[in-house]
């Protein structure tokens, strides 16, 4: 269960962009497409849910943990253990092999897990997405669709309760777009993860159980004033 209550957030620059969320609830295991125009706060919402951004006020509760009461280090730990993220530009490390990229969360925070077991899980994830034979390749040797599949595997390594995808299909052709969305939905269902995927692509919305119009749940505030969503 994800619940945001009375959230106030503003980027720490003079006159910076800010949002206010009176209340938002998403049941656990829900697959949600988040839509809305540019600058409407979609990425900021994902940042708050990932614990990358911290709201000045309110509660961000994910599976009974309120991120608002955690310090930066605790939020980082929570993020790496419970949140998987897929980015628009894949953001794979070029100097690591495909399987090492998938294991990146383990390299950042091993949390006592045995490296052999993690390696085995990473290999299984890659096999599930058809990249088992490319585990030793470099990201630069893969197509864009394949790179995004690797990024999905990286996000799924720790079997996260919450899977966040920020326009993961933005750099892909139409065929690959649907493949990546199907993959995200499949992985979310397998792990009983809650999926929030930001997208501008109307053709993909039919795959999701819920479509969340961001403008209906939050108010954007700029500088001293505020504008109604």
């Amino acid at each position: 269960m994800i619940e945001l209550r009375d959230i106030d957030f503003r980027y720490p620059v003079i006159g910076g962009f800010g949002i206010h969320i009176p209340r938002l609830s998403i049941p656990a295991g829900e697959c949600v497409a988040v839509v809305g125009p540019s600058g409407s706060g979609k990425t900021t919402l994902l940042g708050l849910l990932a614990g990358i951004l911290a709201s000045a006020r309110g509660a961000t509760v994910i599976n009974d943990t309120d991120l608002a009461v955690l310090d930066d280090g605790q939020r980082r730990r929570f993020r790496i253990e419970h949140v998987g993220q897929v980015f628009q530009a894949f953001e794979l490390l070029h100097y690591l092999s495909v399987i090492e990229n998938v294991m990146l969360p383990h390299y950042i925070h091993a949390a006592g897990a045995d490296r052999k077991d993690v390696h085995q899980r990473a290999l299984q994830l890659l096999s599930d997405v058809g990249l088992g034979l490319k585990a030793g390749s470099r990201p630069g040797e893969l197509s864009q669709g394949e790179q995004q599949r690797v990024a999905v595997c990286r996000a799924m390594l720790n079997q996260p309760a919450l899977l966040l995808a920020d326009e993961p299909t933005g750099n892909l052709d139409q065929a690959n777009k649907q493949n990546v969305v199907d993959l995200l939905l499949d992985q979310a269902q397998r792990n009983h993860s809650t999926l929030l995927m930001v997208t501008h692509d109307q053709s993909l919305l039919g795959s999701f159980s819920t479509v969340l119009d961001i403008q209906s749940v939050l108010t954007v505030t700029t500088g001293q004033g505020a504008k109604a969503a």
Binding site: G73, R76, R79, E91, L93, Y95, L96, Y107, I108, R154
Partner: protein
């Protein structure tokens, strides 16, 4: 944090060329001053150690340094020759033990040292195999010569002509090896020792040929007159001294005029040494007596001064290298901002990213340090040979 070290290592391995250039630059920065210091200090210690063991050297007037390098290391340009009579005169004073040296000749790059058996006890040289030379034409070789030429007791070495155009001059002499010395890490390891009379044979002052009084050598006689026999060109000259023909070897001319390179002088006490030095100062007769350690100390003073200038220059170069490396590193971090941002978004802390960067720097510096240390040890191993090769240029 072991994950950060792993990522740092993988980054360096992926960027092999960049890493290699960085490591090479830092290695050179560390190695050159260290190697210069080690080379100079170790060489100085080795040079002075051998010089300290050699109380006095007598030679013809000329460069004292050339005389020392020739007498102690057998590698320098040849000093002016000294008549054998000088050696006899010195020996007969009774004030010191005199050891003759004739270092003019070579065999395949190894110096042939004509000397007496006293040289071996004076230098504390032990035999690894065989015996010392006992007859004209026999030789004892240093450990490095044995290894380099793959020869041992019973094999032979041939002396080299002084120039390829020396058709009528020095004949090559085939020398039989009777002993191989144990290595002692000095110039003796690279030398071939013969009796000083054998070196005169190599020089052509002594030779062996058919006995012209025998009927078998009749074809080699040009004419006989008043008991004087003159040989023609067909007389057989011996290129090797064997027990069978050694009796046929003889010297022409006055032995006292035969040449030596120098004489090592070992007085039994300071007083005898002082008396001898005074004698050579008062009446040098075209000769000089030197204290090798004093001559080398003069040389080393100059070497140390040059060393200090070199190290100063290298320090300035190192500062410039550090500045360039720092600039390259900062630019690299700028280019990797995206990567660090990704790590942070996934959950890496600032300390983790700092550890990643520090590990890369650490690996490069540790690698460079190990390489520089290895190279410095290699230089230390070959310090004396390196210096000798410089001095013999």
């Amino acid at each position: 944090m072991s994950g950060a070290l792993f990522l740092g290592w993988r980054y360096l391995v992926f960027h092999q060329l960049k890493t290699a250039i960085l490591v090479a630059s830092i290695t050179l920065m560390l190695f050159l001053p260290a190697a210069t210091r080690v080379l100079v200090n170790d060489s100085a210690a080795a040079l002075t150690s051998r010089a300290d063991q050699t109380p006095l050297v007598v030679g013809a007037s000329g460069s004292p340094l050339e005389l020392v390098l020739s007498s102690l290391y057998f590698h320098a340009e040849q000093p002016p020759e000294l008549p054998f009579a000088s050696f006899v005169e010195l020996r007969d004073t009774g004030w010191a033990e005199a050891i003759p040296l004739n270092t003019r000749f070579h065999s395949r790059g190894s110096p042939i040292v004509g000397t007496s058996l006293k040289y071996f006890s004076f230098r504390d040289l032990d035999l690894a195999q065989g015996r010392l030379m006992g007859m004209l034409g026999e030789c004892v070789i240093g450990a490095n010569v044995a290894a380099r030429e793959s020869v041992g007791v019973g094999d032979s070495l041939v002396s080299s002509p002084e120039t390829v155009f020396d058709i009528a001059g020095v004949y090559p002499l085939k020398m039989t090896i009777t002993g191989v010395l144990e290595s002692n890490g000095s110039a003796d390891d690279d030398a071939i020792f013969v009796d000083f009379k054998t070196s005169w044979v190599i020089q052509g002052l002594g030779h062996g040929h058919q006995d012209l009084a025998q009927p078998a050598a009749a074809a080699g006689v040009l004419n006989r007159k008043d008991g004087l026999v003159t040989a023609n060109a067909s007389v057989v000259q011996y290129a090797e001294i064997t027990p069978e023909n050694v009796a046929q070897f003889h010297f022409h001319g006055a032995t006292g005029d035969f040449p030596l390179s120098s004489v090592i002088v070992v007085p039994p006490d300071d007083k005898s040494g002082a008396l001898l030095r005074g004698r050579y100062q008062d009446n040098n007769q075209g000769m000089q007596m030197i204290v090798p350690s004093s001559v080398l100390n003069d040389l080393l003073d100059t070497v140390f001064t040059v060393q200090n200038y070199i190290i100063l220059g290298l320090a300035i170069l190192s500062l410039a290298t550090i500045a360039v490396i720092t600039l390259v590193f900062l630019l690299s971090q700028q280019l990797r901002k995206g990567e660090f941002h990704t790590l942070s978004r996934i959950g890496a802390s600032r300390a983790y990213v700092a550890t990643l960067i520090a590990s890369e720097i650490g690996f490069v510096f540790i690698g460079s340090l190990l390489l520089a240390t290895g190279l410095t040890f290699a230089v230390r191993q070959y310090a004396l040979q390196i210096l000798q090769s410089f001095l013999s240029l």
